[in-house]
Amino acid sequence: MSSALNLAHEPVTKIPMGKLAMWAFLASELMFFTGFFGAFIVLRNSNYTVFGEGSHHLNVAMALTNTFILIGSSLTMALSILNLEKGNVKNFRLFLGLTILGGFGFLIVKYFEYSGKWHDGLFPGQEHHTLFFSFYFLMTGFHALHVIGGVIPMIFMWLKSFTKSGYNHPVKVETLGLYWHFVDLMWIFIFPALYLMIPYHAAAGAAVHH
């Protein structure tokens, strides 16, 4: 069975196909989040009082903690790739394990943040829910799903490294790393957009708003 087409070749650029595919996927992910940010910008500008009050209500300390957890886990992810490339399996396990812990830490903080919002009746359908909180749950919720989606293959790779055959696919870890850094990137935008960009001087008092 011969075919005139040979579709199995590597691209001329020698960029690994998985890596290129991940960048293409991330480009589509960027457009997915752009939809949220676009709608957020439009509706913030037309409902700035609602968005200001909602934003003022959020827990900046928890979000700041999560920001540090994410940038820390980005660093450990990058170091785990480097160690697997070097063949240092012990350090690869250590740093990937720390990255997984970071992912779980992020989700635990998120759980406490969300339960606070539930307690204050801010969930959709609850009495104090506003348009702002629709965005809050949509953007942070999809972001948290991305964190879960990153942690699952990490756990697989980490456990696989303990088996007899081990885990020796640095390019795959690098590809997953790209995804993980992207999750960090989106948080870098979500954090100031939702938590910090309050359209009035909060210290001067939120309630005085016309």
């Binding site: 650029t13 020698k14 960029i15 890596k19 290129l20 960048w23 293409a24 991330l26 480009a27 960027l30 457009m31 752009t34 940010f37 676009g38 910008i41 439009v42 500008n45 037309s46 700035y48 009082t49 200001g52 900046v60 700041l64 920001t67 540090f68 940038i71 820390g72 980005s74 660093l75 992810m77 990058a78 170091l79 480097l82 490339e85 070097k86 690098e174 790393g177 790209l178 850094h181 992207f182 960090d184 990137l185 870098i188 935008f189 954090f191 100031p192 957009a193 910090l196 960009m197 309050i198 359209p199 009035y200 001087h201 909060a202 210290a203 001067a204």
Partner: protein, 103 residues
């Protein structure tokens, strides 16, 4: 691969410290006691500072953590396009919309 590992770790650490400092800076800047009522130049400044710091952080992550610095120029081009579209769309929306509502 190919490059000196010691130097790579050094640049990873530099990016990590830069991200930490810029995170604190963005929170600090958001708490600066200047009036930023919606639609005033203060609000535009307030938002612009936040966006500018986020952009610096994102470039640092993509350039070093996501290895664009070490990657093929073709791949870099492949990344610039969606990032450009994202920036144009968000900036255009932000300015057109706030202009439309403050008019």
């Amino acid at each position: 691969m190919g490059h000196d590992h010691g130097n790579v770790i050094k640049s990873y650490m530099q990016v990590f410290y830069a991200l930490a400092v810029l995170t604190l800076l963005t929170v600090g800047a958001a708490m600066l006691p200047f009036p930023h009522e919606w639609g005033t130049p203060g609000d535009i400044l307030h938002v612009s500072i936040g966006v500018a710091i986020a952009v610096v952080k994102v470039i640092a992550v993509m350039w070093v953590f996501m290895h664009l610095k070490f990657d093929h120029p073709m791949l870099r081009f492949f990344v610039y396009v969606p990032v450009f579209l994202f920036s144009v769309m968000t900036f255009a929306l932000n300015f057109l919309e706030s202009w439309a509502y403050t008019r």
